[in-house]
Amino acid sequence: MGLKVPYVTSYLTEHCAEDDYVSLAGYEAKGGYRAAKKALGMAPQEVINLVKESGLQGRGGAGFSTGMKWSFMPQDSDRPKYLVCNADESEPGSFKDRLLLERTPHKMLEGILIAAWATGAEKTFIYVRGEYAFPADVVQRAIDEAYEKGILGPRCMGKSFAHDVVLMRGAGAYICGEETGLLESLEGKKGQPRKKPPFPAQYGAFGMPSTVNNVETFCHVPHIVDQGADWFRGFGTEKSPGTTLFGVSGHVVRPGLYELPLGTPLDEIIFEHAGGIPGGRKVKGVIPGGMSMPVLPAGQLDVPMANEYLRERQSMLGTGGIMVMDETTCMVRASCIITYFFRDESCGQCTQCREGTGWLNKIVNRLERGAGSEKDIDILVDVAGKMEGQTICAFADAAAWPVQGMIRHFRGDFEEHVRQQKCPFSGSFEL
């Protein structure tokens, strides 16, 4: 019952259509754990340098340099150090980690083992979103197998290096994807993000130095170690090397996952790989990187999918979840869903976020019903502005940006609701 095979593969997803790739034997048959063996023969600092040189950026949304993050882990500390694998994937429009968990669990474990060696971590907690019951089972089986074969445990791959991996399931809260919310949840608490500083590298899981990385981030690592930084930089752009898994959803002919180099133009992904818009309709807007990222209008789809280009268009790569909306789509309705989501998922600590997400949602709902005014649209912009950049975590930004994006590019949709006092798009999806 796993995910369907993606339509385009590269190194990351190369074998993931093969059922036995999920097993340790199948994985090893395709060269699995070769990189780990190599890494465990290198000095940890060398591994970190290699990952730095590769230019790998985190694939969890923020795009921070992975090698740099690893180097923040204290080197000569006798406190236990931990890794955390963020498999909470809950960003609407994102489903890439699920594929990797279900189809390439050993690749992720291999990446984890390499990172553990590089950072000196004694344990990894894999935090899988609660709803991913099946992926969690697959990963747990892979962990058990890795223990049985001595890849994990007191002497990893025969080396005098001990590493344990623990899988925990979340319980349904988007905010547990935010790394410090995740840490709280891991500690058996509400997933309310922590104030920073201190950062996880000083005060992470259970108060110990920790590094949090995304599932996909870990999956790139064995390839980098195996084939080198230059090889890795052969994919993608200069500033954003490597491939990534673009998840395409919404109004396309072939929704799915496409492993493509970073920097692949958005229109190429939508029209060539995902088959374009069904029924010969036109595209209206595209959210390029998961729900937190501002929408792009039809005229801007030539953008290469890498942060350095998306930023110029006031958006971001995020998780690479591409949501395509065709010309029938009411952007006010889309905004209703977006604002509802953030309202529902705010952890509720910060005033701006707790009250702002609710207010945005109420105003958008009222506009959608045709009971709003021009002034409401300005209030939306103003409130979103006041939520931005002022809170404990980036969730409030993530809630504000999409609203700003919608009004930036589709203010007309909002104004038309005001003018007609109803939704003017009869063919739009239903609320």
Binding site: P92, G93, G130, M168, G170, G188, G191, I337, E430
Partner: protein, 155 residues
């Protein structure tokens, strides 16, 4: 004691995986819910005792996460994802149809206690919309007919 010995043993082995016992709280709550279907206040008190915390702390955690229930549910928890990618592919229409098929609204339980229906945020199946989550299982690429078939097959 409502928490069974088996569940209790499983909780203990979960706790052992974490540097602090409390790390085992979410796993414990999943286990308890598996045994009992929900976590009633009496159960929360027992959990609090196991973890050496106050009952109110268990309650805070219980009410923070969507997947924990403080009140009894139907035998099956059925969710339709209604987030944007699914909605673009008709999930909200499907939910409305399921509601009328079952004769209940999202958030309610059928009279025979068979199904609790709900809507959920994105479940990581956006490309295979619309979808249903039935207990721990995803059903993807659905239409009303397939959905009804699945629902009617539930005990």
């Amino acid at each position: 004691m409502v928490i069974s010995e088996d569940t209790r043993a499983a909780i203990d082995s979960e706790c052992a995986k974490y540097p602090q016992k409390r790390g085992g709280l979410l796993p414990a709550m999943h286990l308890v819910q598996k045994q009992l279907g929900h976590i009633a206040p009496e159960t929360a008190v027992e959990l609090a005792e196991i973890f050496d915390i106050r009952p109110v702390e268990v309650m805070e955690v219980l009410t923070f996460y969507n997947m924990f229930f403080s009140a009894p549910r139907g035998r099956h928890n059925v969710y339709v994802c209604t987030n944007l990618p699914c909605a673009l592919r008709g999930s909200r229409t499907l939910l409305a149809q399921i509601e009328s098929h079952l004769g209940i609204a999202a958030g309610e339980t059928t009279e025979d206690g068979r199904i609790s229906l709900g809507h959920e945020e994105c479940l990581g199946a956006c490309a295979y919309a619309p979808m249903l989550r039935v207990d721990e299982t995803y059903h993807e690429n659905l239409d009303l007919e397939k959905a009804n078939q699945i629902l009617d097959g539930l005990e």
